[in-house]
Structures are given as structure tokens and as C-alpha cells.
């Protein structure tokens, strides 16, 4: 791998985002819940790990599961009242949740360090070997991503995953087949927050410095954009979307200072011309037969969840 440290850092960030986006796929892709508060859950995971390791001196390996569990509890507490809302009401409520999280993180200075954030988060160690450089961290992050994707695929294939998709497609019909709609929605929401918290913990251990602006509502929208660009309802799409949206600004850098303005137009063009995302692209038959990419399987997986 002839990548510079800077590019490896971007790949790491894309992999961490991919974990969060696979989580968002449960809430939005499967259960159809528009959540604009995903970054707040990522932030809770990150702040949980950062506080437990720096303030209490815990080991990262102990802090991670505790932070994830804490985030899941918060997701249950806010999910029970908020998930009664639908569509853009839910979108704006979760957005308000994310904004509130940012305000608290930026102003509760005694605990969160305010806008200065928390630094000197200890690095992860595996069997006495510190994951201090980008390359070794990437291997670890890829293992986590693979595990996340496999667990997500298993849930998708199980009756729980199918229940989520049924709820998204028709709430009334699925409740008549005996599905507890509220419970399925809550499960999808909490599952998405667990993935988000794992991503947040990975982020904190990788950057070793976090601040409120890493978890603003704009990041929630970015996660949603990654999922829609990749193709919602598809795990491969979630990963592709996270990669593309992380690297697109980089590839547009040749445009000079205008690259971010073009970034918006690019995303818009993808939404207009690829309405089912990257995972929904109809590849030419030749490519499919060669089997260079397992597109048919991919297509079948993404079609299964699409009405």
C-alpha cells in the first residue's frame, strides 16, 4: 500500500464513518426513521470513551463497551417519546436533539472542556502493541468494520431485520401481522445508536482529541447523505457512500478553493441521476459476467429491501 499518512488518515475516517452509516441504515434504510441526530450518538460514544479514560483513568477496552451501553440507554430514553413522531417531524425533533447535544457539549466546560474539547485520549493497545500510527489503526478499524457489516447482514437476514423493513413499507399492515411496531422502531433506533457509539469510540481513540464541532448536526446530515448516496437499505451501499462522501472533497481539490461549492453540486447530481444510490447502479452485463465485482448479489440484496 503506497498511501501517504494523510490518505491513510482519510481512509481511517471513512472506515469509522462507514460503521456509523451501517448503524444509520438500521434506523433509516430498514425501519424508515429519518434521524438527523446520529452525530449526537457518535458524540456520546466518543465523549464517553474520552471522559472514562482521561478523567477516571480506565482502560480504553473497558471504556468502549461502557460508553456504548450508556449511549444505548440514552437512545432508549429519547427514543420512547420521539419515535411517536413520523417523517419530517421526527427529522426536526432528532435535529433539535443533536443541536441540544452540541450546546451542552460546548458549554458544560467543567466536564467536556467546552469548545476546547478533550485531548490526550490514550491510544488503543492490543497485546502490548500500541495502535499509534495510521496503518496499524487501519487494520484494526477494518476488522471492526467487517464485524459490524457481518452482524448487520445477519440481523438483516433475520426476522428482526425483515420486521424493520415491513414496518418501513407499511406500518398498518405489519402491525396486523402481529409485529409490535413501536418495539421494532425502538430496536432499530437503539441498534443504530450502538453502531454510532462504536464509531464514536473508534474516532476518539484514533484522533485522540475530540471537540463539539466533530458531532454537530451537519455531521448527522453527512451520515444521511452517505447512506442515500451509497444506496439506502444496503450495507454495501452504506460503506460505498461513506467512502465516496469522505473522499469526494479530496478528489475535487483540483478545483481549488471552489471544491466545496462543487461538492454540493456533485451530491445533488448523484441524487438526481442515481436515485437508488451507488449500490443501485445497473452495471453493464459484461462486467457482471466477468464476476470482477459480485454485482448481481449486491443488486439482489439491495432490491430485496426496495419496494
Amino acid at each position: 500500500m503506497l498511501l501517504t499518512d494523510y490518505h491513510l488518515r482519510l481512509v481511517n475516517l471513512a472506515v469509522i464513518s462507514a460503521v456509523a452509516v451501517i448503524g444509520l441504515n438500521f434506523a433509516f434504510g430498514y425501519a424508515g426513521l429519518i434521524s438527523l441526530g446520529h452525530a449526537a450518538f457518535v458524540g456520546m460514544g466518543a465523549y464517553g470513551v474520552a471522559l472514562l479514560t482521561t478523567l477516571l483513568g480506565w482502560s480504553s477496552w473497558l471504556a468502549l463497551p461502557v460508553a456504548v451501553a450508556g449511549t444505548a440507554v440514552v437512545a432508549i430514553l429519547i427514543g420512547v417519546p420521539l419515535l411517536r413522531l413520523k417523517g419530517h417531524y421526527l427529522a426536526l425533533a432528532t435535529l433539535g436533539f443533536n443541536v441540544s447535544f452540541s450546546i451542552v457539549a460546548a458549554n458544560w466546560i467543567e466536564v467536556t472542556g467546552g469548545t476546547n474539547g478533550i485531548s490526550r485520549i490514550p491510544e488503543l493497545q492490543i497485546a502490548g502493541h500500541a495502535l499509534s500510527d495510521e496503518r496499524s489503526y487501519l487494520w484494526f478499524a477494518l476488522v471492526v468494520l467487517a464485524a459490524s457489516a457481518i452482524v448487520a447482514a445477519l440481523i438483516h437476514a433475520s426476522r428482526h431485520g425483515r420486521a424493520m423493513i415491513a414496518v418501513r413499507d407499511d406500518e398498518t399492515a405489519s402491525s396486523m401481522t402481529g409485529i409490535d411496531v413501536r418495539r421494532v422502531k425502538l430496536a432499530a433506533f437503539v441498534l443504530s445508536s450502538v453502531y454510532a457509539a462504536v464509531a464514536g469510540g473508534l474516532f476518539a481513540c484514533h484522533m485522540r482529541f475530540i471537540s463539539p464541532e466533530d458531532f454537530g448536526y451537519a455531521h448527522s446530515i453527512t451520515y444521511l447523505a452517505m447512506l442515500v448516496v451509497g444506496g439506502e437499505g444496503s450495507i454495501v451501499g452504506a460503506i460505498l457512500g461513506a467512502m465516496l462522501v469522505t473522499f469526494l472533497p479530496e478528489w475535487l481539490r483540483f478545483l481549488g478553493p471552489a471544491y466545496l461549492a462543487f461538492f454540493g453540486l456533485f451530491v445533488l447530481a448523484i441524487l438526481i441521476f442515481l436515485p437508488s444510490g451507488l449500490a443501485g447502479i445497473r452495471w453493464p452485463a459484461r462486467l457482471r459476467r466477468n464476476g470482477r465485482m459480485n454485482i448481481p448479489g449486491l443488486l439482489a440484496a439491495s432490491e430485496e429491501v426496495r419496494p
Binding site: 419530517h88 435535529l95 443541536v99 446530515i221 442515500v228 461549492a261 441524487l271
Partner: protein, 291 residues
């Protein structure tokens, strides 16, 4: 007491700006069903249209204001053609992300054109102050409240006294029926985007002298407009006004009496409370299955 009067006027002035942004948001939502996440960038464009005409081109203010509003109307039409037409049949989330993407483009285009240095947009009432019961109030703040009231009156005339406005309301109610009745639906939809851009233009021109104008001012305004919309009632024009004024007042009074750091939590806390207890807001949305 004098402090309170001053705070109330300032809160009403900033609230008027939020109300105008929220009205634009509501008009577009009712007519086209689009939740416009670029609403804050619309207001930012309004302020910078003012900067371009008044500061860069040095036009006298009546001409400059007119030119800025004309530019905003053209922008509204462009937005309709580039964003709404291609995405109109897409799911809600795709449109939300589409408006966010366009918002990013708008913000960075403004950054390229004007730089990150903040501007001070002058007011025609620069330096004029009024004294009410011992409190010194800037005439611009009072004018902002009056202009908003005037805009609301004009909107009411448009929607309830002209065939154009009645057509727009018909499209908002049932687009298919409106088309069957022979209304030029696309033209009326375009008009609602133009109207939203114009209202954002007025809001931006009024906001410029109250805040320092910089290209990142759009997002906080959008968030306040969303909060105003939810508190007042999604899709309701009187709701947008009441919600906007409430958010402005809670921001100014909260910053002064509670905590300047947590002033925004008040409006968002109340917004979330409304969503949980009365999601239809103060002036409820009649249609049940909008969500």
C-alpha cells in the same frame, strides 16, 4: 424597566427576521411539500445581495434594496428549476439532502465571492435612535418590526384577495385537483419559491445591520426558523409569525436573564416539548397524513 423595553424591542426585531424566514419555509412547504434545509442560506444570500448592491456597487439604498430583492427573486426561480423540478418526485429524505447539498454550494459560493471577513451592512436608519420611556432603541429595530408587519399584510392580501394567491392556496391544498381546474400549477409552484426567496431577501436586508454579516450565518438562522415553525405549527402562516417572535424574544430575554451560553437551549427545548406534547404546534396543521 428601561432594560426590559429595550430587550423586548430587540427580541421582536430579531424575531421578525426569524418569522419572515419561517414564513418563506412554510409557504414552500405547503405548496411543494419540500422541507427546505437551505432556508437559512436563503437569508444569508439576502444579506449578501444587500452587501453586493449597497457596499460593493455603492448604489443608493432604495435602488440597492430593489436590486437585491430582484436578484433574490431570480435566485428563487433558479432554485425552482435546478432543485425542485428534477427532485419533485423523490422521497422526502432525498429532497432534504438535496436542499442541504445546495445549501453547502450556496455557502461556499458566497465564501468565494465575499471571503470570510464579516461585513457591516448599513441601514438607511443608521444612527437614528428613539427614546421610549427612558430606553434608547435603534430606529432600525423598530423599522424591522414594522416592515415585517407590512409584509405579512401584503401576504394576506395576496393569498386572500387576489386570484393568484387563491390559486397558490389551491395548489397547496390539492395539486391534482388544481391542475384539473386548469390552473398553471408549475407557474404557481415557481411563484412560491420566488416568494420564499423574496421574504428571505427582506429578512437578510433587515438582519444585516443587526448582526455582522458573514457567510456562515445561514445555519443558525435555519435552526431558529425550524424551531419557530414547529412551535407555531408546521404549515401554518400565523404559526410561523408567532413562533418566530417567540424564538426571537426567548433568545434575547434568555441571554439576558438566564444564561447567554444556554439561550438557544430554551427555544430548542420548547421545540422538542411541543413535538412531544403537541406536534401540531400552536396553530395545528389540519392535514393528518402529511408525515
Amino acid at each position: 424597566m428601561t432594560d426590559l423595553i429595550q430587550l423586548l424591542i430587540n427580541g421582536l426585531a430579531i424575531g421578525s427576521v426569524y418569522a419572515l424566514a419561517a414564513i418563506g419555509f412554510v409557504i414552500v412547504y405547503s405548496a411543494t411539500g419540500v422541507v427546505n434545509f437551505a432556508a437559512g442560506q436563503f437569508v444569508m444570500f439576502g444579506t449578501f445581495a444587500g452587501v453586493a448592491m449597497l457596499l460593493n456597487a455603492q448604489l443608493p439604498w432604495p435602488v440597492g434594496y430593489g436590486a437585491a430583492l430582484l436578484a433574490m427573486a431570480l435566485f428563487g426561480a433558479l432554485f425552482f428549476a435546478v432543485l425542485y423540478l428534477p427532485l419533485r418526485a423523490s422521497p422526502v429524505v432525498t429532497i432534504i439532502i438535496g436542499t442541504v447539498a445546495i445549501g453547502i454550494t450556496m455557502q461556499n459560493a458566497a465564501l468565494l465571492a465575499f471571503g470570510s471577513w464579516p461585513f457591516r451592512l448599513p441601514s438607511p436608519l443608521e444612527g437614528v435612535n428613539l427614546t421610549v420611556a427612558g430606553a434608547t432603541i435603534s430606529a432600525h429595530a423598530v423599522a424591522a418590526v414594522i416592515v415585517t408587519a407590512l409584509m405579512v399584510a401584503l401576504l394576506w392580501l395576496l393569498f386572500f384577495r387576489t386570484s393568484l394567491g387563491i390559486g397558490m392556496r389551491a395548489v397547496a391544498q390539492d395539486i391534482k385537483a388544481a391542475r384539473l381546474m386548469g390552473l398553471k400549477v408549475n407557474r404557481l409552484l415557481a411563484l412560491s419559491w420566488i416568494l420564499a426567496a423574496l421574504l428571505a431577501g427582506v429578512a437578510g436586508l433587515m438582519l444585516g445591520p443587526m448582526w455582522f454579516a458573514d457567510t456562515s450565518m445561514g445555519d443558525p438562522i435555519a435552526l431558529k426558523a425550524f424551531a419557530a415553525t414547529i412551535i407555531g405549527g408546521f404549515g401554518s402562516l400565523p404559526g410561523a409569525i408567532v413562533g418566530g417572535l417567540f424564538v426571537g424574544l426567548s433568545e434575547v430575554l434568555g441571554a439576558s436573564y438566564v444564561s447567554s451560553a444556554y439561550k438557544d437551549l430554551i427555544s430548542f427545548g420548547i421545540m422538542i416539548l411541543f413535538l412531544l406534547v403537541r406536534p401540531q404546534g400552536v396553530f395545528g396543521e389540519r392535514v393528518q397524513d402529511r408525515g
